[in-house]
């Protein structure tokens, strides 16, 4: 059973709500990376977004809509998240004068937990499994009367993430393809629906760690195939399975999902940090790794202008040495 579909008008409404609150992030280019990719790459810098990731868009849109649809005092909100949605929700809630309860895995980066608290969010820790996240969230929701704002499966969140698609169509001339990382699928769902509705010749790709390749498998099989375990990958924001609400959008609008190895992710990290001087987390460079991969090059040999979303930059700087490749593989 599918929830009511998010449409382009919903995304345009979201853009209106976000104006003055979320940033229209810059698109940057880099000659070295163009040479490596064999195409002009346009990097949408969501690491520069409020709260350090694109998640702010969806969170703000969802809470904003909740606030305007409630007559008196809006209820608190609750979510479970490994980090970026937690920070985004806490900041958005703070800006909209709403209390946020955030369930986070014990193993989430310390800086992310501190950031949530810094934004006024209340952190509740749980064991690092999807089941524990959900159960703890449901308990808090019942206890506090809090409305659940999913990190990727809420239609208002998908609409919020879709605003990146609208901006890309304005910011990048003659766009041929877009690559976004995929975890829960909120960003890929929102961006792909915008592209296929407004500019169907633009190809849309998801990028996923090989170690967490549920979305790729699902697309290949034609049905959602979640992993039964919580995978290990340095792309800690993408460990979650692609969810049931995001799936139909991905099934219908995404051209392919490209899987990349841990080494390819580390290599992309080194390139972005060293060449582009941007702080981007491993999950955030998965799209870059995909753009540089043999399979993408083979598939999109003729493409000239490819947008890649750098989804976020929240990471523990002390862990950086483990996240880079020792030497650039050019």
């Amino acid at each position: 059973m599918e929830a009511e579909r998010v449409t382009v008008p919903d995304v345009e409404t979201a853009a209106g709500r976000l104006e003055g609150h979320a940033r229209e992030t810059p698109v940057l280019t880099c000659g070295t990376l163009d040479d490596l990719a064999g195409k002009r790459l346009y990097f949408k810098c969501e690491n520069l977004q409020k709260s350090g990731s694109f998640k702010f868009r969806g969170a703000y849109n969802a809470i904003s809509r909740l606030v305007s649809s409630t007559n008196q005092n809006p209820p608190p909100v609750v979510t479970h998240s490994s980090g970026n949605h937690a920070c985004a929700l806490a900041l958005a809630a703070h800006q909209l004068d709403v209390t946020a309860h955030v369930v986070m895995p014990r193993t989430a980066p310390q800086c992310k937990k501190e950031t949530v608290r810094g934004y006024g969010g209340k952190v509740i820790e749980c064991t690092p499994t999807e089941q524990a996240r959900v159960e703890t969230m449901e308990r808090i929701s019942a206890q506090e009367g809090a409305v659940y704002i999913s990190s990727s499966q809420h239609p208002d969140v998908i609409a919020g993430q879709g605003t990146m698609g609208l901006e890309l169509l304005r910011q990048v001339p003659d766009l041929d393809a877009v690559i976004t990382p995929v975890g829960g699928g909120g960003m890929l769902a929102g961006v792909s629906l915008v592209m296929k509705s407004l500019n169907p010749h633009v190809r849309v790709y998801g990028a996923e760690p090989e170690l967490a390749n549920d979305a790729a498998t699902s697309l290949a099989q034609g049905e959602r195939c979640p992993l039964s375990y919580y995978p290990e990958t340095i792309a800690d924001g993408l460990r979650i399975n692609m969810g049931p609400v995001a799936w139909p959008y991905i099934r219908d609008n995404v051209d392919d999902i490209i899987c990349v190895t841990e080494e390819e992710i580390k290599n992309a990290m080194t390139l972005i940090w060293q060449r582009m001087k941007l702080v981007v987390e491993p999950s955030g460079v998965v799209g870059v790794a995909a753009a540089l991969s043999d399979s993408f090059k083979a598939r999109e040999e003729a493409a000239k202008n490819v947008a890649v979303i750098l989804s976020g930059g929240n990471l523990d700087l002390l862990k950086l040495p483990d996240l880079l490749s020792m030497s650039e593989h050019v």
Partner: protein, 329 residues
Amino acid sequence: MAGKSYCISFQNIQAALSTVRPFIHRTPVMTCSHLNQLSNRNLYFKCENLQKTGSFKFRGACNAVSKVIASNQNSTDKELSVVTHSSGNHAQAVSLAAQLQGVTAHIVMPSNSPAVKKEAVRSYGGQIVECEPTEQSRVDTADQVAERTGATMVHPNQSPDVMAGQGTMVFEILEQVERVDAIVVPVGGGGMLSGVAVAAKELCPHAKIYAAEPKNADDCAVSMLRGELTPLPAPPVTVCDALKTSIGPHTWPIIRDHVDDVITVTEEEVKAAMRLVWERMKLVIEPSSAVGVAAVMTDRFRSLPADEHQNVVVILCGGNVDLEHLPWM
């Protein structure tokens, strides 16, 4: 200061803008609510860490190389070349500027320069000539190369063409920031500080110009205090490896006359500011780049009158940092 003549004029900087424009990135200006809250100002960060070759030095290098070509237009049989002694940002900048304009770049570097810096210079097409790790050897080797090849010397901060090139960033800043009350500029040799000061005095004369300098390499601050050029007596020890040179005879008079104050910062303040920018702005900046950020957080800067210092531009001058040797590890 009527009648004063410096080695560069506003017209030089204006000309440099047209010269360098086809080659450089028009870098963005970014803001950060958290840093505004911490500093109690509206901060506007000019992101020269995002400039080609990773620092603002590319501006001056492009201008200098173009001028070499222009002044050799009649000798078409000569293969043009430039030479400089630098192991850092200027070396990379000159290498790429030369490569893009069909000129050979000879880069004199100490033999013990980090491998990553040598690789960067090579990747931009620079030809490395090694020297002993002493000031004398750098200068002598550069002279020898110039004599052998006919290469023109491009000094990293005292060359007027380099100084004029650095000043071009002010034109962009004024297009990007509605109201500029003050500009904070890190200072090493003073090429950027003097270029920015001359441009700003013409384009936004009401704006105050502040130099930001490591306490451990405070020749500019001391010179301003004494009223005369006072280079460092010995090579300084500072994490700001791009700011170790002293200001010189070409940059000093401009700094003396046009800079409102020099704010010095400790090593700890620099490291903390660098980490703040990495974590909150998600920008990779090198320690020398954090000096300006550290400066606006000092008590000294905070005590400046708020109404005259509300909108402050801070130059993030570069982002070339060895990722395997970060100051907080």
